[in-house]
């Protein structure tokens, strides 16, 4: 695990923005796990500059407050239910999130959005972008993505990479031999 600096050590480091890519969701519920799967895939296939961290956030809510508060620029990858056809891509900028008070459909009451609200009240809320996709099936139980969503994996991956680049992070494809090890 990378050691995080305490918030008061923030000012002493160089001006590089710390970018955290957080894949969240439950991998046991088919498309609900898309965020985690994308992060795992990117970690396996690419190398990133030192100011970029990719993290499998799984189903944890409040315990993600620590890494969230330690980042300047947060890219969240998650399934987003917005009543559009399955496979629809979303990019939710921070102002979209600020409109929300709570998320009725979140089954995890201390969820990501609450963690963001908490990071704000503690005075270190990062800039947040959510890269989402409308799921086809999140009913229990299954480890595999549906075909509809599986087909969108390359597109979501490249969107996340673009987002990392726009935030000031760098990446390069690992050579295949290394990736296979």
């Amino acid at each position: 695990m990378q050691r995080h600096m305490a918030p008061n050590e923030r000012e002493n480091q160089d001006q590089q923005k710390r970018i955290l890519v957080l894949g969240v969701g439950n991998i046991l519920l088919r498309d609900e796990g898309i965020g985690v799967k994308i992060v795992e895939k990117l970690k396996a296939e690419y190398e990133f500059s030192s100011n970029v961290e990719l993290m499998d956030g799984g189903t944890l809510g409040l315990r993600l407050l620590d890494p969230i508060s330690q980042s300047d620029y947060l890219i969240v990858v998650d399934a987003v239910q917005n009543g559009q056809p399955p496979g629809t891509h979303y990019r939710l900028p921070p102002e979209e999130l600020e409109k929300r008070v709570t998320f009725k459909n979140s089954l995890h009451q201390l969820d990501l959005v609450e963690s963001l609200a908490y990071s704000e009240i503690l005075g270190n809320r990062p800039y947040v972008v959510i890269i989402g996709i409308e799921p086809a099936d999140i009913s229990p139980w299954g480890m595999e993505l549906t075909e509809t969503i599986q087909a969108q994996v390359p597109e979501i991956s490249s969107r996340v990479l673009n987002e990392i680049e726009a935030a000031g992070g760098k990446y390069a494809a690992k050579n295949r031999v290394e990736a296979a090890q």
């Binding site: 695990m1 969240v24 969701g25 439950n26 991998i27 046991l28 519920l29 609900e32 499998d56 956030g57 799984g58 189903t59 944890l60 809510g61 409040l62 315990r63 993600l64 407050l65 620590d66 508060s69 998650d78 399934a79 987003v80 239910q81 917005n82 009543g83 979303y90 939710l92 979209e96 600020e98 929300r100 008070v101 709570t102 998320f103 009725k104 459909n105 979140s106 089954l107 995890h108 009451q109 201390l110 969820d111 990501l112 959005v113 609450e114 609200a117 908490y118 704000e120 009240i121 503690l122 005075g123 959510i130 989402g132 799921p135 999140i138 229990p140 139980w141 299954g142 480890m143």
Partner: protein, 546 residues
């Protein structure tokens, strides 16, 4: 026929819970607890390698990750007849201890405190008076006048923005809130402190857990964190532990006492009758004899007679749940055949089965553990409980209540936390002596049954595994909230939370904060953790007052 009040969903819990109560003459006269999510984790485990079970079960929930991992590993340990090495036992205990410290702290401040603390009233507080009160109550830091002014400024900014965010769904200004503005301000300030502290406390899991979230250092036969067993990592763990315990001792416990002092009427509300504890924290290979938190059952509140636990007496009823049939079965023979019809409180109304022990509903969790330990004469528990009762000037019967449940959670946090120091030191000692064994080799049996009985923050947790041809043939979980939040059984006996709600005063059926107090005191967790982002809606409560 009284007034019906439905709270759906109950916020500030983990999962999706629907509570329906009937209010007659200002008091709850009947209650129904429904969990409206179907979980069938068993279905995904069938046919897999038993060694992998924990990787799946710990993903079931966003809070109790480690505890499901531990329960699964123990169930398979038990099936294979493994006696794990002492270091593995110490490390598993330490990681479980961290889970308690973290969960209980977060529960009190972030899931429960706002039932008692009126955040908006804190704006009216005099920071100087708050500082005087705070310094009188405890030695916690950040209690100068300027500290409190700063908290007020933050709060005001939030209120002025019109976006209350995390405080959006409170019943602020409700007459059931009894704390003076200064105490509300202190509690709000500690709410923020606890946010910072919990983040650091959670790091302890990463020290010996390889990663956080979702620890990876458990394995059937022991643990795998060999590279972390060095002086640096141990002292890092101990440092975070000490910081956490300072908070528990100087902030959490005094806050519980201070808040309880204003709510003594809640020492008569929200009690149940029977209690069940599997026990946990083994001190050597003798289980359950060596458990620090002892195993036992209490019937009819009789603390002078702690009965041993006979697992053959556990059955799960489905008569009022959305499953086929109405046969009560032992978990090892458990079936999961979902059959949703409609929500009908007179008939079937929950996805949760109703577990019973010797035919009775049993409360599990902090209060049950503290009562069993108290009844068995566990010295640290006795001292802590008697001390608290004396401080508040209430009799032992006060334990059987919503307030007792919340106080018990704080008491056990301190007791478990204190015990952890010994485990850390013992671990360091062993390693210094050259004993670094953390794993016991074994042969996976072709066919076996195993049980992992645990006591975790929310209560008694059982995992049962049935192995055939070295694969999982059947896997059953009976989670703590099943015991606490389950519906009625075939005999029509209420589940613990239903029973606890009867008699609860409700001043205003449209704002049933009193109902939330009792429900939240159980720390409901209906392990599910689908957390989808829904960018449309922010409607939270659906009320139906008929």
């Amino acid at each position: 026929m009284g007034q019906r009040v439905v709270i759906d969903p109950i916020t500030r819990i983990e999962g999706h819970l629907r509570i329906e109560v009937e209010v007659t003459n200002g008091k709850v006269s009947n209650a129904w607890s429904s969990a409206t999510l179907f979980r069938g984790l068993e279905l995904i485990l069938k046919g897999r390698d038993p060694r992998d079970a924990y990787l799946f079960t710990q993903r079931a929930c966003g809070v109790c990750t480690y505890v499901h991992g531990l329960a699964s590993v123990r169930a398979v340990d038990n099936a294979a007849g493994i006696n794990i090495p002492e270091n593995a036992r110490l490390l598993r205990n330490l990681l479980l201890g961290v889970q308690f410290l973290h969960d209980h702290m977060v529960h009190f401040y972030h899931l429960h405190a706002l039932d008692w603390v009126d955040v908006l009233s804190a704006l009216k507080a005099d920071p100087k008076k708050a500082s005087d009160v705070a310094n009188h109550v405890s030695t916690a830091g950040n209690s100068g006048i300027n500290d409190f002014k700063e908290v007020q400024a933050r709060l005001k900014k939030l209120v002025d923005s019109g976006q209350l965010g995390i405080f959006a769904n409170g019943y602020w200004g409700h007459p059931a809130y009894k704390l003076p503005p200064e105490v509300n301000l202190i509690a709000t300030s500690h709410y923020l402190e606890a946010l910072r502290q919990q983040a650091r406390t959670a790091r302890m899991h990463a020290v010996f857990g390889a990663k956080n979230p979702h620890l990876q250092s458990l394995v059937v036969g022991g643990v795998t964190c060999a590279t972390d067993l060095n002086a640096d990592r141990i002292s890092e763990f101990k440092y975070l532990w000490k910081e956490t315990m300072d908070f528990v001792t100087n902030v959490y416990l005094p806050d519980v006492v201070a808040v309880a002092g204003f709510y003594k009427d809640w020492a008569k509300i929200g009690g149940t009758t029977n209690f069940l504890v599997y026990g946990d924290f083994p001190q050597n290979e003798k289980e359950p004899d060596s458990f620090m938190l002892p195993r036992g059952a209490i019937f009819k509140r009789n603390l002078s007679k702690i009965e041993p636990v006979d697992m053959a007496q556990v059955e799960e009823h489905v008569k009022h749940s959305w499953y086929e049939g109405d046969q009560a079965l032992h978990p090892s023979k458990g079936e999961t055949k979902p059959k949703y019809e409609k929500l009908d409180v007179e008939n079937r109304y929950s996805w949760i089965k109703a577990p019973r022990y010797k035919g009775e509903p049993m409360e599990v969790g902090p209060l049950a553990r503290v009562l069993v330990a108290y009844g068995k004469g566990h010295e640290p528990t006795k001292k802590a409980v008697d001390g608290l009762l004396k401080k508040l000037g209430v009799p032992p019967e006060a334990l059987f209540s919503t307030l007792g449940r919340t106080a018990a959670r704080a008491i056990e946090t301190k007791i478990i936390g204190d015990a952890m120091e010994g485990w850390i030191d013992q671990l360091a000692e062993n390693i210094k002596k050259g004993d670094t064994k953390i794993y016991q080799d074994y042969q996976m049996p072709a066919e076996a049954m195993g049980a992992g009985l645990n006591d975790v923050p929310r209560g008694a947790l059982g995992h049962w595994v049935d192995i055939k041809e070295q694969k999982i043939n059947n896997f059953q979980l009976v989670v703590p909230s099943t015991w606490n939040l389950g519906p009625r059984c075939a005999q029509g006996k209420m589940g613990p939370v239903e029973e606890a709600l009867v008699g609860t005063p409700v001043a205003d059926p449209k704002r049933p904060v009193e109902v939330l107090r009792t429900v939240h005191s159980f720390d409901p967790c209906i392990a599910c953790a689908v957390h989808m982002i829904d960018p449309r809606s922010n409607e939270v409560y659906k009320f139906r007052v008929v």
